[in-house]
Symmetry: C2
Subunit: 721 residues, 2 copies
């Protein structure tokens, strides 16, 4: 760690890359933290020197809040723009606004002054394609033409989306949450949160959602917000040069993303805490809170839906790890799935509309003025009950019709989301699960309601329903169903409930929602402990050390460390007897990320650890700039090197890049403790000693491999690369 | 750690206390975790042996959820009983119900069938004391008599409360949250969560709140819930024998406590996470969630207030570290403060009523039917505006009168809570802060509202208030004020907002509430980083390693470890050359909690660490039961001990109590890393080595002392004992 401290002085010299990491490598959290403390200390001590330095130090102290403000503003704006664009393009599949083509259906009829229409969806300015092209609004011909153009637009949108992703930013596909989880746990995937990804993901997200595929924008919005976070990190060296601090910002950005996706700022903070983040100190909690607040406020100011409460949802996807033969041809796959989706979705009113509207309708209760099919109850005037006393009314033909359509929609949604999953376009995960749950919930709700009407003398209904009072609310069943389904997929609990009630405003339903969340978690856990994101991480083989897996096997550090029994001895450096040549050979022959430094090969007493990357750079630099350093120069990690005559090969002093406080455990340490240490301290590697003698090394990958082995999984299948 | 593993086998023999801790000592989290994993492993392997063992293992796996269920049920019930009792006793100060003396004022008038009364507070069954004793309900004489009896009852209640606490359970005083925080961080305070504390705290809490003192029941309810948690831990050896697991249960119990205190289950979970807990894995999050759910559900079933939404608040206290001369005479102090409170509170209607009612009235908006003084607006029929359009009406004399009374109440509340703080009775912290904030907020709200009325042509109001629309809501100002004040006192953010909106149902006010929470945190942090609980912990000198303090000084482990430069050398044991006599002398001469074991005094190579308590017990046991172990026997920590003839003193083999994986850092490790390791791994001590040679030891107290020194505080003043 002190090595890291010295590293900073070293960094002042022209060594731009010392202390950074390579792509697809894991960061060392302790080292990053230590580097940040050094930086902070330097700024604090400088701030006493002049007013300018004082101002700089104040700016530095507030830069965290500034970054949060910027993230909130940008992600709120992007979410608003995406919402407006999706709205317009979804309607474009059906028709166009004559007064201004950039108006969506709703805006078109809104601005039309003839608001006396009972059905606000109908106004002369808005024309369906068939009407516009042939002049006939009704009839079989118009229906077929509309149907055809609907499918055509959908195919065009999805083709554009998949092509853009393929050509410009392959990282823009999927929801991005599994990768963000992995990145937040300390893995480096360069470009995953880059500017190109941000741009392409925003554009293709609009296209993909508008195409009507069974996918949604909530997960991708988290990715978009994290890209914003990464973008603003580059403005401040505090964040751009420190991978640990950068991840604190990204955690907060994830919260802002969920905040704008659902209009749920608190839910966003909790989602980041419960589901995405790895290292989440209280400071990050407060900042996430602020970012989520600003983002929600910005989005509300844009007010894309004309109501100032919430941003409704669009479809996302569900059910993992199916890959079709088509998977090898991503563009063809997307076109095929879009075609099937569009062809099958159009005839059923519950699948034609956007999933957000569907969910919204399913959640709603039937008021007296509701024109929906779902509210076609028979009012019985003989019983002189108030009109809005729904539960005790028998269902009319519309409700039975709706039931059948809902059942078909349920099957369609489940099947199509399975196939939509894994396609190479931006796609979210929340909404298809919610839609499936909401449909199932509503069906159950209506069934119970009708049972209560026809059999109100049954014992369960007798105590439950007092005459004349509400006793069954099908909308509540839909809400609880949506929560339960989403909870089963993601295994969220607290954040799920908070998102649900921020989304619906149904604060009084906390208890049923909590019960649904706990039950669905129990049931889902009985089938397997992993939520969809963890499964996705495993499927991709990212080196992610899940905090939830409990390690309960009785193995010791000595069983996991390398070298194993028949392996060649550990590659070590000695503090004062290795030559530059030897070091270069070692670097060439091995691909380890670092090497322990010992007093001598005989005593094997550990004095420190040196990173491969730093070693390579230091030797390269010394060979170029330092006179007398040649292949036969001796590398010294000690405090002093002997004074040699100028004619001899000059010693190369490298104590500055030596980490003098490497993390060590004894060979008797149980692996459960080692796993705990790796998780909590975010280590990359740990050295194993016995009575001060170096025995071996354990890396994060060794730990992951061992855990997989203990769970009878193939250890190689789970590793990245 | 492996030592801990072996310890378990050892524990099967009659050593009841091996592996436990003494009072006022810190636990070793890693060791507790390791012991639990061992226990779990044993049960899992046994479960394959027979059906009975399988059932036992399933029971063990579910015991966590069972404990949560029990905690939820008991704490919900206790909260309900406390609410009912407080309700009754608060009213008892004013009068009695003739139809049944155990009815509170509200219940009394509720059951009376004459519900036609406009004012539901007036019914013939409920008689004030003066009316009951003299027959006169009105007049100066009746007023004085009522006043006198009010004060008398208050004095009686508070005298009973302070006496009970003093005699039976001194730990029952205060809110208990600072101590619970300390306990959850790993400190042992025996009896603090015991059965007596539970019983006495419940009873005296009712007495203290009923006496009308400026204190509240929310904090103490957290203490009560934690006592319930501790009680149910004793039912399962999994929790009663493991201090780490016990703390997981206590974290969840704290969530249940807040859940019933405010009727805010989600807020409770977040409070436990943000404010109280130290080690809060996701598993505990889910269990807390469940416990909070059950507790809220139980309380709702009891339904103490007849509305099924929320449990309103009672007063709590505020503003720390003032102690009066009276502090030395706790009973006298309580009586005096109660007397002053009662005498001053009675004449002002805003201080006479319970603070929960006050806050509730301040939060409320003025509807058309509101009879409160605060709603005495002048309706202007000429302007033909709707009746409930409040903001544009001028205030009547009642409002101005109320303003003065509120201002006086504000001063009174602030002053009296300062003095109420620290008295030896159960007292909470949330409500007086909320009351102060709500009063201030309402005053500001009314002022702004009247400004908007009289100067609606000012620019700020012009854009803000459209004619005929609501533009200023004084109730919202009160709510935001309460949140801001509470946030400033406790420095909560997310949990504060969630509690506030669970409490008020005001989901649409998330944005102003969040803004208030963030602002008050910023302002308060400018005066000092500590919230009230941390200040209280420091005041009491508990060894609490706060996760929020950032340690940024450039000191190394070598600067903190003991022995210091001129100290005697470190007390160590050797693995095979110390006699029983030597060990006993070492135990007698020092008071260290444990001793490092080295290969030999010359090489100083560390092999393990042994706890003082285990060593004492092992030697005592061996002397009693093992033949041939005498003072001159050699203690062996090695794997094998030499075979000696029976006539010689027999060797004492103690490898089983040796921790073979003590935690080590090098002397070059920066203290910021050491602090991080202590926090995250919950260590008691850490050994310092250089190249495998033992140099010294750092304990948790050394770390705390060093941190205090670095912050220029007196290191001795902050230490317990």
């Amino acid at each position: 760690m002190n090595g890291a401290g010295n590293l900073m002085d070293f960094l002042d010299e022209p060594f731009p890359d010392v202390g950074t990491y390579e792509d697809f490598h894991t960061i060392d959290w302790l080292r990053e933290k230590s580097r940040d403390t050094d930086r902070h200390r330097k700024i604090t001590s400088k701030s006493k020197e002049s007013l300018w330095e004082l101002i700089k130090s104040l700016l530095d102290a507030w830069s965290g809040w500034v970054v949060m403000l910027l993230i909130g503003l940008l992600s709120g704006t992007l979410a608003g723009v995406i919402d407006l664009a999706v709205d317009w393009m979804t309607d474009l599949k059906e028709g166009v606004c004559l007064s201004a083509f950039w108006y969506s259906h709703e805006q078109c009829c809104w601005t039309s002054n003839e608001t006396t229409f009972d059905d606000r969806d109908k106004c002369p300015q808005w024309q369906k394609w068939a009407e516009l092209m042939t002049g006939h609004a009704e009839g079989a011909g118009a229906y077929v033409l509309n149907y055809f153009l609907y499918v055509l637009w959908a195919l065009l949108f999805s083709f554009l989306a998949v092509s853009l992703v393929r050509v410009f930013a392959p990282y823009a596909c999927g929801s991005g949450i599994p990768e963000i989880k992995t990145i937040l746990s300390g893995f480096i995937i360069r470009g995953y949160l880059g500017k190109w990804t941000l741009l392409i993901k925003t554009v293709t997200l609009v296209l993909a959602v508008s195409s009507g595929l069974s996918l949604g924008k909530e997960g991708p919005l988290v990715h978009v917000a994290c890209c914003c976070g990464n973008l603003f990190c580059s403005l401040f060296s505090k964040y751009s040069k420190n991978e640990g601090k950068r991840r604190e910002v990204l955690s907060a950005a994830a919260a802002a993303g969920v905040s704008v996706a659902f209009g749920a700022p608190i839910g966003g903070v909790l989602f980041s805490l419960e589901e995405v983040s790895y290292y989440f100190p209280l400071k990050t909690l407060w900042r996430s809170f602020f970012a989520a607040l600003v983002a929600a406020f910005t989005l509300r100011s844009i007010n894309p839906f004309g109501n100032s409460r919430l941003v409704l949802f669009y479809v996302e996807y569900h059910t993992p790890w199916k890959t079709t033969q088509l998977g090898k041809y991503p563009v063809l796959e997307v076109i095929a799935v879009t075609g099937i989706t569009a062809v099958l979705a159009f005839p059923n009113p519950y699948t034609r509309r956007s999933t957000s509207e569907l969910i919204s309708e399913l959640f709603n209760d039937c008021g007296a003025l509701e024109s929906s099919q779902l509210c076609d109850y028979i009012n019985n005037p003989n019983m002189s009950r108030p009109v809005d006393d729904i539960p005790d009314r028998p269902a009319g033909p519309g409700v039975y019709n709706a039931l059948w359509q809902l059942a078909l929609a349920l099957i369609f949604k489940i099947v199509i989301t399975i196939f939509t999953f894994g396609m190479k376009i931006p796609s979210g995960l929340f909404i298809p699960s919610m839609a499936v749950g909401a449909i199932a919930g509503r069906i159950v709700g209506i069934a119970v309601e009708q049972m209560a009407y026809h059999h109100h003398d049954w014992i369960i209904f007798k105590n439950w329903c007092r005459p004349g009072a509400d006793c069954v609310t099908p909308g509540l069943y839909a809400m609880v169903g949506a929560a339960a389904c989403l909870g089963g997929v993601t295994r969220m609990t607290v954040s799920l409930v908070v998102i649900m009630f921020e989304l619906t405003g149904g604060l009084e339903y906390i208890v049923p929602l909590m019960a649904a969340a706990v039950t669905s978690k129990w049931v889902a856990d009985a089938f397997g402990k992993e939520g969809i994101y963890e499964s996705h991480i495993q499927l991709n083989g990212y080196p992610y050390l899940d905090v939830r897996d409990e390690f309960t096997h009785r193995t010791l550090a000595t069983d996991v460390m390398r070298p194993r029994r028949n392996d060649p001895p550990l590659a070590v450096l000695t503090q004062d007897s290795t030559t530059v040549e030897d070091v270069e050979a070692l670097i060439k022959d091995t691909d380890y990320n670092g090497f322990p430094v010992v007093v001598s090969r005989e005593s094997e007493r550990l004095i420190g650890f040196v990173q491969r990357r730093d070693l390579t750079l230091a030797i390269k630099n010394a060979r170029q700039k330092q006179d007398g350093v040649v292949s036969s120069s001796v590398v010294y990690f000690t405090e002093d090197a002997p004074q040699l005559p100028a004619s001899n090969p000059q010693p190369l002093k490298l104590r500055r890049i030596l980490n003098l406080s490497p993390f060590t455990v004894t060979d008797h340490t149980p692996m459960e403790t080692v796993v705990d240490i790796f998780r909590k301290l975010g280590l990359r590697q740990c050295l194993v000693t016995r009575s001060g003698r170096l025995l071996g090394i354990i890396t994060k990958k060794d730990v992951l491999r061992h855990m997989a082995q203990m769970m009878n999984q193939d250890p190689e299948s789970i590793m990245f690369n």
